[in-house]
Amino acid sequence: MSDSHASAVGHHAEENKFQIYVRIAMILAVITGVEIAVIGLPFHKWLLVSTLVILSAVKFMYVIFYFMHLRWDKVFCTVLFFIGLVIAGATMWALIKLFSVHDSIPLTISLNGVAQLAGLA
């Protein structure tokens, strides 16, 4: 196995992957830092929740599109994964909603708990 790597058609994008990966990792680390900082900020709750959700979605997308290579792969891989992701996400959302309607509140509930995380549902 030789270290020299014969470049075939369509391979040139790869030359600088190393740089890209390191840069992405740095971005991810920074976002994580921001997230941790955000929870201490004195803003309105829904703003913070949306910020956190968006930030982690951004991280998520960076990882799947760069580290996991989707960006350079056939779109079909993206479609395939998103079928699962979307159905799972929608199901989660529906479940959490279903449990949050008045009829579904369990009998054993501490009220402050509801208040605490109401922003989520």
Partner: protein, 414 residues
């Protein structure tokens, strides 16, 4: 084989089939199958909630029937018209290899959606109507709590508080005022059960840790069959109950009687000394526990149950009361005013004699069945908690004399 060549056979078979069917129906079986007016019919109903649900059902039937007839006719026509009539036909040149027609597709899709809209509108209306007591009726609604337990029902009346005891409690027979919306809170402490009185309303489940409720209303006084509809373990099949709807006055009288502590039969001296009846003991497992007579007019049968028996044997009843304590029955069952003990996890027997059924709507409440229940609880209702946690755990043994005393006592608790 071609259809027409079979036709003569068909007529012969058909006649035989009709004959066989007729004999089947006439020999002992019942006609309710066709009339669908059994005690738990969802078709012949007696309350607004069940009626609203029935209307939706009829809408769905009408719409799907129409579609069925149309689609079915086309399908039948296509099958008959285009079938290869002979073997030459089978090997003929293949037909035109057509691939479809978007216009037909689209119009059929449109038609299906239209059909669904016809179903959806009454459905949505009924969802909201059957959900809770209508706003304008709220003030008039009567509230009850129902709890499912393996395998019986407890009913509490939060509006009828008894001093120092709590709400009026009864089991397996829910008595309600007729013509008034009833809102029932449904609870369970063990597994999931479901509260279903088909003639009054569809079911709602009783789920642990969940505050479900149902509303229903009986048009007029009547006697209704109910059943636990969610599989809840071994004896789910025999977890039944009854609902008795009464006119306002009669209902109030009933409440009045129930609020009283348990009845004590006075020894007037001229009654016979303890005389033991003997009851059938050779019951088969799962043998029927009802009589046809009762069904003819169940509401009157219920009314008759409210009255004390003519010739009560006070001595025997007193003996039964002692035995109830001696045999540890009181450690589970409450008999308000007679002895201290028992809990709400077991049926309240304060007025058990005034109920038409025992063992959760399974057996008719008469001395024979009562005796059967307390001698063979496990044969009547396999795995029931009275047998497992009482008879087995406390090693309860009853002689025939004990049984007839207990029966006399329990029957006297009107």
């Amino acid at each position: 084989m071609r259809l027409y060549s079979l036709l003569p056979h068909f007529t012969r078979w058909g006649r035989a089939a009709v004959l066989a069917g007729a004999t089947l129906l006439l020999t002992g079986c019942d006609l309710n199958f066709w009339r669908m007016d059994g005690h738990q019919s969802t078709i012949v109903v007696n309350g607004p909630v069940a009626r609203s649900q029935l209307d939706v059902f009829y809408t769905t039937v009408a719409v799907t029937m129409v579609i069925f007839v149309i689609v079915g006719s086309v399908l039948a026509y296509a099958t008959l018209k285009f079938r290869a009539k002979s073997s030459e036909d089978e090997h003929a040149e293949p037909p035109e290899q057509g691939h479809g027609n978007p216009l037909i597709e689209l119009s059929l899709i449109g038609a299906s959606v239209m059909a669904l809209v016809i179903i959806a509108i009454p459905t949505l209306k009924a969802i909201w109507f059957t959900y809770d007591v209508p706003a304008e009726e709220k003030a008039n609604a009567y509230e009850v709590n129902a709890t499912g337990l393996q395998w019986w029902f407890r009913f509490d009346y939060p509006n009828e508080q008894i001093n120092g005891v709590g709400p009026l409690t009864t089991s397996n027979e829910l008595v309600i005022p007729a013509g008034r919306p009833i809102r029932i809170n449904l609870r369970s402490n063990d597994v999931i059960h479901s509260f279903w009185v088909p003639k009054l309303a569809g079911k709602v489940d009783m789920i642990p840790n969940r505050g479900n409720f149902i509303w229903l209303q009986a048009d007029e006084p009547g006697y209704f069959w109910g059943q636990c509809a969610e599989y809840c373990g071994e004896s789910h099949a025999v977890m039944r109950f009854r609902v008795i709807a009464l006119g306002p006055r009669e209902f109030n009288e009933w409440v009045g009687r129930q609020m009283e502590p348990a009845r004590t039969v006075k020894d007037t001296g001229d009654q016979p000394k303890a005389q033991f009846a003997s009851y059938r003991t050779d019951w088969k497992r799962n043998e029927k526990g009802y009589s046809g007579k009762f069904d003819l007019n169940p509401l009157d049968a219920w009314r008759a149950h409210q009255e004390p028996e003519k010739h009560e044997n006070a001595a025997l009843i007193a003996k039964g009361k002692e035995l109830f304590q001696a045999k540890t029955c009181f450690s589970c069952h409450v008999i308000r005013g007679h002895m201290v003990g028992g809990s709400s996890a077991y049926p309240d027997l304060t007025h058990v004699g005034a109920r038409t059924t025992i063992a959760a709507g399974l057996l008719e409440n008469n001395p024979e069945q009562l005796a059967r229940w307390i001698t063979h609880p496990n044969e009547v209702k396999p795995g029931n908690k009275m047998y497992v946690n009482g008879y087995l755990a406390n090693n309860i043994q009853l002689t025939p004399d004990d049984v007839s005393a207990l029966v006399a006592y329990l029957s006297s608790l009107k």
